[in-house]
Amino acid sequence: MDFTLTSDQSALTSAIDRLATHFEAMPTDFYGFTLAGTQLEKELTDGEYFDIAGIPDLGPLTATMAVERLAWLPCTAEIALSMLVRPHLATELPRPFAVIENGRPGRFVATAKTLLIINGDDIGVAHPSVDAVEAVDSLYAYPMGTFTGNASVTTLSGSDAANVRKWLRIALAAEISGLLHAAIASTVEHLSIRRQFGRSLGTFQALRHRMAECTVLAGGVRWLVLKAASTEDEGDAALAALHAQESATRIVYDLHQMLGAMGMTLEHPLHLWTYRIKALLSELGGRGGQAAAVAALCFNSEAA
């Protein structure tokens, strides 16, 4: 048990942090629902950051930290699946990736080169032609798309599917972890500045306690994500995804409640994180799906 980073890990996370800080400093004159990170995508590609997980001295844990950090940004790109799931497929497949779960619209589907098609327990891989996918308008702050189903699908073996599902869970939890961090920070900033009844909102006990509770939940999500990425254990992945979806449901509501009317506007960025989180709450079977996996994988009858 040792939570210090290796020098390689530190170097990489510092590089990601610098890249992210650069994007955070850019003025966003954006009042829509989905802020596409086209430039971010380009820089990550140019820097070969999508291949972090495959570098022996870095590995999936470092890639997970990168996914988490990049989710703080107001803009979004298909990062998590490419960094964390793509490396675990038998052959090198083209990115961007997207998931179609039981036929529902999915994130980044309209521009995906590789689709992971989930139907119940099966996972298949498809490479859709441009006319087999279509963008969909939505409230979610990701570009959403649908798949007409016109593409040949290669079904993965049971063990490959389990492995992909594990990394999908870690990718999901890492993304939620980063989004929660950014959403909380943005709300804290608002509460600390904004005044009501002659006091900063951040001095009101009820708001302070709620923010603190949100922070504790989000911190727990982050620890579970890092552990899952480190142990590469299926049960740990399910725990991380469950705690992420469970905590996020509550946190998103609380943050909007605390931000008040400002959080309803597209002028404040909160929705850029919370409406990404909302798109993630139902993925991989939602809380019920993760709970079933936890129940199957994580209870140790012998030690009881």
Binding site: M144, F197, G198, A206, H256, L266, K278, L281, G288
Partner: protein
């Protein structure tokens, strides 16, 4: 004590439903998304005209003003059915619920004659100029100023925010400061085409046209624009809030959307496991909220003033809408990605519920003080 509807109430509800199924066009649910949009407002004005013709716009108003003195249950049944349909009256629900009745009580003869009949005919849209930047729901720190001008009127300067329907409204029910202190606030009835008023739409998650900033830049109004006496705003607003306290039957849409989401999930074999528990929990919250609201109508029917239970009903509403909203996001996420415009509209409105018209936290404070009689917080 009886939880059943009598035959008159049942037949009134049937009348309202029949009206809705006749007058709501096929694309109504798509329009319901984006309250305050130009398209919805155009439709709402037409719809409210038809409601008025059918005697269903202001049945609870006095006969003198075009109503038929229907009792509070009728008004609430009407509101339940309208809200469950996605509120096709648009912003006009405010006229019917509290702006009209407030004018009947506090308005001058001239104001009543000018403003009430068009409301009763469903021709007019109002907006309420209450919230200000930095002030939130704290009336005492209101900054918009109305100063006596050289003639016998007032010159208004200031800024309002979060104003719903401002982009389509013809009149504003405006709070402005005429002198210092709590009793220095007055109400002005201001035509929105008065020179010096600028409206900026704030882009929002809730959809097109819902919230705005309204700027008042040397807006000149006559003395007759004031409602009641100078400085009477606090008293008038308290009365109108108590009229509004019955609240909007938001639970009616939440309950209907829950039913719809469950029906959709059942059709595709997705109603099982955690979805069942989550749906049941939301259902219980909706029905508890419905009964809370009925209890307030029951009090009103008996002539009792609205008590702190109204705050409880409000907070229960917030919870019910939240649970339905979360259920849809988790179990039927496709509804918000092109799947169902009315489920989308419900989601967007539920965001507002806990925040607008007396934030949830304010209701909680009222409940602690008035219902639980706990000592007040120090300021």
């Amino acid at each position: 004590m009886d939880f059943k509807w009598d035959s008159e109430q049942q037949s009134f509800r049937a009348t309202v439903r029949a009206f809705l199924s006749e007058h709501l066009p096929a694309d109504w649910e798509a329009l319901a998304h984006g309250p305050g949009s130009a398209a919805q407002s155009t439709f709402s004005t037409k719809f409210c005209g038809a409601l008025a013709t059918a005697g269903l716009l202001v049945p609870h108003w006095p006969q003198h003003w075009g109503g038929r003195d229907a009792d509070p249950w009728m008004a609430f049944i009407l509101a339940e059915e309208m809200w469950a349909a996605g509120e096709p009256r648009g912003g006009q629900y405010m006229n019917v619920n509290w702006i009209g009745p407030t004018l009947m009580r506090f308005g001058s003869e001239e104001q009543q004659a000018r403003y009430i009949p068009p409301m009763a005919r469903g021709e007019t849209i109002w907006c309420q100029g209450f919230s200000e930047p930095e002030a939130g729901s704290d009336l005492a720190s209101l900054r918009t100023r109305a100063e006596r001008n050289n003639g016998s009127g007032y010159r208004i300067n200031g800024q309002k925010i979060w104003t719903s329907y401002a982009g389509v409204a013809d009149t504003c029910f405006l709070l402005a400061r005429t002198s210092v202190g709590k009793n220095g606030i007055s109400i002005f009835l201001v035509p929105m085409d008065t020179p010096g008023i600028t409206v900026r739409q704030i882009p929002s998650i809730i959809g097109e046209g819902d919230i705005h900033e309204v700027f008042f830049d040397n807006v000149e109004v006559p003395k007759t624009a004031i409602l009641g006496a100078e400085g009477q705003a606090w008293e008038i607003v308290r009365t109108s809030l108590s009229l509004e306290r019955v609240g909007i039957p938001r639970f009616a849409l939440a309950a209907r959307m829950l039913d719809r989401a469950v029906a959709t999930l059942k059709k595709s074999g997705r109603f099982n496991g955690g979805a069942i528990e989550q749906a049941a929990r939301a259902k219980a919250a909706c029905e508890a909220t419905r009964l809370y609201s009925y209890s307030i109508i029951d009090q009103r029917k008996r002539g009792l003033p609205p008590g702190p239970e109204a705050s409880a009903a409000r907070f229960a509403t917030v919870t019910a809408e939240r649970l339905v909203g979360e259920f849809v996001v988790e179990q039927l996420p496709d509804a918000l990605a092109g799947g169902d415009p009315l489920l989308l509209a419900h989601h967007q409105r539920a965001i507002v519920a806990g925040i607008a018209s007396g934030a949830a936290e304010i209701q909680l404070n009222l409940i602690a003080t008035e219902l639980l009689r706990m000592p007040r917080e120090p300021r």
